[in-house]
């Protein structure tokens, strides 16, 4: 039975999320009417802050399926009650990310062109198929999880979803990995790096959503034993992501032709080194690891704090990866000092504009709204928590 305060909190949150989304749509309209001249993006940095948010949401969407996969594919029954929320979050995050991506197009009204004209040599075109496919698979998965009579399909559909999300994140990473011309990208390691990042970011977002929704319903988030396992898992994922990031940079440092780029991104090219070291490495990875491993901090609150830091670190990482990667000038004439009216040989500045930030936040808001409304409309929260909540005094 839902309490009055829980109902009020739900509607307040819905209104707040709706307001952010409305402002974001207004910002997108403003950008479309005036063109991208009103953003910080230019002919050097062609993908800016909206892409940071969009890629974060899309990568986290794939990772949010972790919990469902652990239950359905790897047979860990403790995770199974949490599978519906895991799948719902995947849908919500993916929708939010795609919304930002589409609204940042130069011609967003031509979405139908993108849906009807495919160049199958393009990893971007493949990703459109993969994104839509994930929506369809998640819908079936959710159905199989929530409808008792379809329970026997949960495992095969879960397996399909697991395989699909691995391929999907490989595709997302390969958007960058296949860019042969750019020093920042053009690497096969980016695909597994993105998978490792997705595992960490997705689990962090899942934990936050789980805590938030449980609190809204006046319930305990999850039992202590499972919480301990989620903590360890999140820590392992954060370490795995750090490992792939380290491999990527170390490989570049070994190649003479990449040293200038590495110096730019890790040492001299402000603001990217600060965002990388302080934002991603320290605040987004090392501090969360302390929070997750320290025996004296084994609380849901500490895990939630670690999750928030992992998500913020993700945004810092992506800003460095996407914006910093473009800010470094293309090396068309190695061995020469280069100058032109088109920014050749010069690291170009990029200052994100307010409309871009609002559009990015709108993506988060859209994901939030879908998750919130979905969790209310569907029996998403784990039954175990209902049982746990029973002794708690009604508010």
């Amino acid at each position: 039975m839902e309490t009055k305060s829980a109902r009020r909190a739900f509607w307040l949150l819905l209104a707040a999320g709706g307001a952010v989304l409305a402002v974001a749509l207004g910002a997108a309209h403003y950008m479309e009417v005036h063109g991208h001249a009103v953003t910080g993006m230019n002919n050097q940095v062609v993908w800016g802050l909206p892409h940071v948010f969009a890629i974060f949401l899309i990568v986290a969407a794939s990772g949010a399926l972790n919990v469902a996969s652990i239950g359905s594919v790897f047979g860990e029954s403790d995770y199974k009650p949490h599978a519906p929320l895991s799948v719902l979050l995947t849908v919500a995050l993916l929708a939010g990310g795609l919304m930002v991506l589409v609204l940042d197009l130069g011609r967003p009204e031509r979405l139908v062109v993108a849906a009807t004209h495919y160049n199958f040599r393009s990893i971007f075109a493949w990703n459109m198929i993969l994104y839509n496919g994930l929506f369809a698979i998640c819908a079936l998965y959710l159905w199989a999880l929530l409808e008792r009579r379809l329970g026997r399909f949960a495992r095969p559909v879960g397996l399909a979803a697991f395989a699909w999300r691995i391929i999907l994140t490989t595709g997302t990473g390969s958007i960058f990995g296949f860019l042969v011309a750019r020093q920042a990208y053009a690497s096969g390691v980016i695909a597994p790096l993105f998978i490792a990042l997705s595992l960490a970011w997705g689990l962090a977002v899942f934990h936050l959503a789980q805590c938030g929704l449980a609190r809204l319903a006046g319930r305990e988030p999850m039992d202590a034993e499972l919480h301990a396992r989620v903590r360890r898992l999140l820590a392992i994922f954060v370490i795995a992501a750090l490992y792939f990031v380290a491999v990527h940079h170390l490989t570049n440092l070994y190649w003479a032709k990449q040293v200038a780029f590495e110096r730019f991104i890790l040492v001299s090219g402000a603001p990217y080194p600060a965002l990388f070291w302080a934002g991603y490495v320290v605040l987004g990875s090392l501090v969360p690891l302390v929070l997750l491993f320290h025996p004296g901090l084994a609380s849901a609150r500490a895990t939630a704090a670690a999750s928030v830091l992992v998500a913020l670190g993700a945004l810092a990482f992506l800003y460095v990866f996407i914006v910093g990667g473009q800010a470094f000038p293309l090396e068309i004439f190695p061995g020469y000092e280069v100058a032109s009216t088109f920014g050749d040989g010069r690291a170009d500045g990029y200052s994100p504009s307010l409309p871009e930030l609002l559009l990015g936040l709108g993506g988060l808001a859209a994901s939030f709204l879908i998750a919130l409304a979905g969790a209310r409309a569907l029996p998403i929260l784990a039954p175990a928590e209902v049982a746990m909540a029973a002794p708690a005094p009604a508010k």
Binding site: E32, H34, G35, H36, A37, M41, N42, N43, Q44, V46, W47, L105, G106, R107, P108, R110, L111, V113, A114, H117, Y118, N119, R121, S122, I123, F124, A125, M128, I175, F178, L179, V180, A181, R182, Q326, L330, I332, F333, G335, Y336, E337, V338, A339, S340, T341, F342, G343, D344, D348
Partner: protein, 252 residues
């Protein structure tokens, strides 16, 4: 010869002449489309006539003749294609002058950089809708009707040759449609080349007395560009990527 045979012979002769007269223009048009003159210049293409894959349009830029500070090619491109000619970071620049200084020797070089019209163009590979495409004759273009403005081609281009139209356009040329929210780049003045003309930058460079840019068919061994490419050492930018550029540089 009896009169009947004579009339019959005359009839066949006249019929053959008429048939020949009817077929010949078609054959000539076909040859027009296919043939390339010894000067390597383009030939007009009949309306509806498909582009020939036997031709590979290209440019040779002789950096030893390109004058530092000269912007004739850039200005001509802007005039021809209705570009504003301003150089903010959001403005389109289809061709730009790049000044180089060798870090070891201090040798200075000035040269124009434009779309390299690659045989293996990364922009065409990555374009999700197929809006970026390469014609049979090697000219790489953007279809304004199917470009969704995702800018992935700009991420993929090794030469920074593409521009995104960041705001509403003014002063468009009827031959060169442009539009806010789409990506664009050098078309090799395809609207002129298809009528037998030469890209404006090439004409402007010649008019300024530099003759630093040669335009022609790389597939025609008798064209000037082919002879020059055979005779001198030329460079393709980022040759390591094996994109097989249609634009070559001499003296770099």
């Amino acid at each position: 010869m009896n009169p009947v045979d004579k009339r019959r012979r005359e009839f066949f002769g006249q019929a053959a002449a008429i048939a020949g007269a009817m077929i010949a223009p078609g054959l000539m048009l076909y040859e027009y489309a296919e043939a390339v003159g010894p000067d390597g210049a383009s030939r007009p293409r009949a309306p509806g006539e498909p582009v020939s894959g036997k031709v590979r349009w290209g440019m040779l830029i002789d950096t030893t003749k390109c004058a530092p500070g000269c912007r004739e090619c850039v200005d001509a491109c802007n005039r021809e294609n209705g570009l504003p000619g301003t150089t903010r970071a959001t403005d389109s620049q289809w061709i730009r002058k790049v000044d180089l200084k060798d870090l070891k020797t201090g040798k200075a070089v000035s040269l124009p950089v434009l779309c390299q019209h690659c045989a293996e163009p990364p922009c065409v590979d990555v374009c999700p809708t197929g809006a970026s495409f390469k014609r049979e004759d090697g000219i790489v273009l953007v279809d304004r009707h199917t470009c969704i403005g995702c800018r992935y081609c700009m991420m993929a281009c090794p030469y920074k040759a593409r521009s995104f139209v960041h705001e509403a356009t003014t002063g468009q040329s009827p031959d060169v449609p442009r539009g806010k929210g789409c990506v664009e780049s050098c078309t090799l003045c395809v609207h002129k080349v298809d009528k037998g003309g030469t890209p404006s930058c090439v004409e402007a460079c010649a008019a300024a007395g530099h003759q630093a840019i040669v335009f022609g068919d790389l597939n025609d061994p008798s064209s000037e560009i082919s002879k020059r490419v055979r005779a001198a050492t030329t460079t393709q930018l980022r040759a390591d990527l094996r994109t097989d550029n249609g634009v070559r540089y001499q003296g770099l």
